[in-house]
Amino acid sequence: MDSNYKKDFEPGFSPLNVCEEAARCLLCHDAPCSKACPAGTNPDKFIRSVRFRNFKGAAETIRENNALGSICARVCPTEKYCQKGCSRSGIDKPIDIGRIQRYVTDFEEANKMKILEAGKKNGKSVALVGSGPAALQAAVSFNKLGYEVHVYEKEKVLGGMLRLIPEYRLPNRVVDVEIKRIEDLGVKFHTGVEVGKKVSVEDLKKKHDAVVLAPGYSYGKMLPAFENNKYVISAVDFLREVKAKGGAVKVPANVLVVGGGDVAMDVVTTLKLLGVEHVTDVVYEQFKEFKASKKELEGAQKMGVTIVDGYVPSKVEGNVVTFAHREIKAEIKVEADLVVLAVGQYPEVKGLGIELVKGEVNEGKPYYTKDPKVFVCGDIAHSAYDKTVVGGVRTGKEVALYVHAALGGK
């Protein structure tokens, strides 16, 4: 099946474009963009490098600060972070930082640059459970500190939630290259190993000096009314399957989506790119309080997705779903061939020996659990950052420092 699903949604910059965009940058003092990046990718420094034609230096800045620089360049909701405070907005519009970063990381790849270097071995080892963005960054940070790093992933493929982000936004190829870089540093990856089942946390504690759990919010939530319904699939399962099959999936002509976050927007856009004629998205939030970015909402609407805001499901009968408005007396009924539920994700921590409160481990000290040898990072770590890739990168960088300190490192 030849759909638009695998085509780049947004083209990258040409060499001329990237220079023009970097020339638009005001090169601020104490730049707001760099202060706003959770991963500390330091956009003001790499944009300045581009401005002064030091593309290799720009790549070094990105890579040293963010092991997932190529991924973040493509998927980061920059309008919420670096671009939010951009001074250039005072003249016209913010600098397109994501696309500059993408140009530089593509340049890095095209030039086969090897920027990251393994640290001098310190004789200690650490186990990471999960291989999503947080764990991948943690692997690099631990590696740099001299640890032997082992990553245990329950799936056959590495990358966790990165394997859900649609191909048109984040090609698998980019994720593969990013992981290969980490592997080249000496990080050992073990796939198909579900910790808590085949291997226990206790086993890992015996083999390693510390264990870091990063299971992620990898399961799609179900609403009770939709359970055990053959027409219903979770957004997470849907996106994972479409991506794994490279878009070669059969979808009916009439699909109902429930939910209005970024994942829901990925679902509706994917459906449209797969050629689905009728995509109806019913959202709990009203437009004024929408969770997904304005850009994504507008993009979906432009593609012809019908988005109805302010409604909650009130009744489900097979493939017919009735919604009631949250505030006014109004009802709508949608009959669809497939219902995709995008109402949030949750983590599965069975067998990991930790307890979650509101989906997080919060023992007062960041990244710590009750067990002094066991730590957490990523979505389940209590932090001030959104549960995004860049937020995960931040926790990955930080957990390495906390663990290192706990193990007596400086």
Partner: protein, 415 residues
């Protein structure tokens, strides 16, 4: 619609407007000059015609350019010498052009390699119908040291060749100066003594535009090597204006008639050349980049400027800036003007703070929390670098302070 008369009289010849092609690749044959006339250029300086004995043999490639950020052609380097067509072809083209475009000015640029060839060429171009002669004493990339800018730095030789040209032709004549010299005045004076009626300035500046970092050779590369050659375009405008001003400032040259050349791309550039004393204007680089059509906006823009200035003839503007450009030692040094920072316009980028600290006097202070600059008047020396780096024009000259012990009055100062 603006309707202003752009005509000027230069060396006794009437031009419908002051804009001319300069002697260069842009006026290399009949077809090119025909098109230029049709687009509306006031005059053409036909590409320099050399002696029959001098064989033109060009390199390939022959250009390079300097870029800045995403702006190409900030400066342009050219290795072409003089017209490569035969003398007969060039004279035939001159004849044809004059016949078909009698009301637009045809200037023949010539370059001899001894007195006889200068004299002969002058005679031949007059016979072919040229309205004026320009002596090319300044091409910096000739393959003979008896020609081009090596001649243009030798005042005695220039005078001798001017006399030779005047023997060959009675046409009005201007000598084209090389900027590859510390002081242009002695050469200009020598040319006038030799019979030149006016001066054209400037020709291109000897340059190396870029070096290929892998091959370690200048650009353009010609079989693994490169050579120094002439630099033109917007980047040379400040140098051209300076030479023209210096000539007009020199004793005895106050009313020197000048054809201004060097990086003219917009009507504003053109107006600047006029204000320092040029009567006609010559253009190449902008044409090479954008085509003859650039003249449309130069002409129209200049007409609007005439309206704004309330003048009916460009002659009223010629040299109007000369008296306001004076030796540095004569400038008023009695006051300091400090910046006025408009915080409503400020977009909080902090560039003023960085430049003042690193390139000024650490006078701009930065409120990190509010992201707001302010000026510490105790430290500020009034250099106004801050205003130059501000991307939104939020910093302008503000309060004037008289230095202690000076008699100057604030109200007398013209900013």
């Amino acid at each position: 619609m603006v309707h202003k008369d752009l005509s000027v009289t230069f060396l006794g010849v009437k031009f419908p407007n002051p804009f001319c092609l300069s002697s260069s690749p842009v006026g290399n044959c009949y077809d090119m000059c025909k098109k230029a006339y049709e687009v509306g250029w006031g005059g053409v300086v036909f590409k320099t015609i050399g002696p029959k004995s001098y064989f033109i043999d060009e390199v390939s490639p022959r250009f390079d350019k300097l870029n800045k950020e995403s702006t190409p052609f900030v400066g342009f380097k050219n290795m072409e010498q003089i017209a490569e067509h035969s003398l007969e072809e060039n004279l035939r083209d001159l004849r044809k052009l004059k016949k078909e475009f009698p009301n637009q000015v045809l200037i023949a640029s010539i370059m001899g390699n001894d007195e006889k060839t200068w004299e002969d060429l002058a005679r031949m171009v007059e016979e072919a119908g040229a309205d004026m002669i320009e002596m090319n004493l300044s091409c910096p990339q000739m393959t003979s040291h008896a020609m081009g800018s090596d001649v243009g730095t030798n005042a005695e030789l220039c005078k001798k060749y001017c006399q030779a040209v005047k023997r060959g032709s009675k046409l009005p004549m201007m000598a084209k100066m090389t900027p590859n010299i510390t002081d242009m005045v002695p050469v200009a004076k020598a040319c006038l003594e030799g019979g030149a009626d006016g001066i054209a300035a400037i020709n291109t500046i000897k340059s190396i535009c870029n070096i290929d970092l892998d091959k370690k050779v200048g650009l353009p590369i010609v079989d693994g090597k490169s050579a120094i050659s002439g630099y033109s375009g917007k980047a040379v405008k400040p140098v051209a204006l300076r030479f023209i001003q210096q000539m007009r400032q020199a004793e005895g040259l106050e009313n020197l008639e000048i054809s201004g050349i060097g990086g003219i791309e917009t009507w504003e550039d053109a107006a600047e050349f006029i204000l320092v004393g040029a009567t006609t204007l010559q253009v190449t680089t902008a044409i090479m980049q954008y085509g003859y059509r650039v003249v449309e906006d130069m002409k129209n823009g200049l007409e609007h400027y005439m309206v704004e200035q309330g003048v009916d003839s460009l002659h009223e503007l010629v040299g109007k800036a000369n008296k306001n450009i004076i030796p540095a030692e004569n400038l008023n040094r009695d006051y300091i003007v400090r910046p006025n920072i408009d915080l409503d316009k400020c977009i909080k980028c902090g560039r003023c703070y960085i430049s003042c600290y690193d390139g000024g006097h650490q006078a701009i202070e930065w409120n990190a929390e509010k992201r707001e600059p302010s000026c510490n008047t105790d430290k500020c020396v009034g250099c106004l670098l801050c205003g130059h780096v501000c991307p939104v024009g939020a910093i302008t000259p503000g309060k004037i302070t008289i230095k202690p012990g000076r008699k100057c009055k604030v109200e007398d100062i013209k900013l």
